[in-house]
Amino acid sequence: METRRDIFQAIADPTRRAIITLIALHAMTPNALAEHFNTSRQAVSKHIKILAECDLVKQEQQGREIYYSLELEKMKEIDQWINQFRQIWEARYNQLNALLSNMKKQKK
């Protein structure tokens, strides 16, 4: 697979899920985000960094503050993931169908 972190790794953690949910509502500063969690600001920053590495979070400088918001395009990966899963099973179905008809021929 890819060496870059993927979206599924990013959302495996409950804190990161909560961060995503918060910034899905509106862009937030790291301080505002940290207020929602009992962990340290550093811990929250670390989670944001991981989300940013997955391209799930983008940052914008507004005056002296940095605002984090969600990268919407990235969500399409989930859609693609489900589609891929379907395609895998459809391929398996077709291949097993072919195998079974071969096995039946050989038996006769």
């Binding site: 899905a24 919407l72 379907r86 096995m103």
Partner: protein, 165 residues
């Protein structure tokens, strides 16, 4: 080749379950073998051009199948399947988890439930897969549902896909 009434794939958001229904024009015993014998599994399990390579398979309760999907350039994606229940010829369950080449599993996996039934000389296979990672996806999607419906046009479509319609 693709007769859609014989293959059905659905994602049920509420139960975090993917269901796959398949019908085969073959005896249940043949279909059962295709799912439970390594040399047969390897012939259909990997979507082409990938190849399925089973390192070992011990089909009994508590036994495991350790296999890889191999890409044309030789990259291996390993997975471990542990059989958790078996009723010969009609039903078995397994826990599926991705792993590294040394059999160290990922923290999250999925529970598979496979049923085999005879119908007019054909075999109906019903598979349901409870997927932890789907559940993790779901919590994110709920956040989107409340926050983003107005701005994210694809979400509606995405949720429809997830609910299976």
């Amino acid at each position: 080749m693709s007769n859609h009434s014989l293959f059905d794939f659905a994602v049920d958001k509420s139960t975090k379950t993917v269901t796959i229904d398949m019908e085969f024009d073959a005896d249940p015993s043949l279909v059962w073998d295709a799912f439970t014998k390594a040399e047969l599994l390897d012939q259909w399990y990997a979507p082409k051009p990938l190849v399925s390579k089973t390192k070992y398979m011990d089909f009994r309760v508590g036994g495991r199948r350790f296999y890889a999907m191999v890409t044309p350039d030789g990259q291996e994606r390993w997975a471990l399947q542990t059989y958790t229940a078996i009723t010969p010829k009609t039903h078995f369950k397994l826990f599926n988890v991705f792993a590294d080449k040394d059999e160290n599993p990922d923290p999250y996996g999925s529970d598979w439930d496979l049923h085999f039934a005879a119908k007019d000389g054909k075999t109906i296979v019903h598979i349901s897969i409870y997927n932890e990672s789907l559940e993790r996806l779901e919590s994110v999607l709920e956040g989107f549902k409340t926050g983003m419906t107005m701005t994210y046009g694809n979400l509606k479509e995405l949720l429809q896909t997830l609910s299976g319609k």
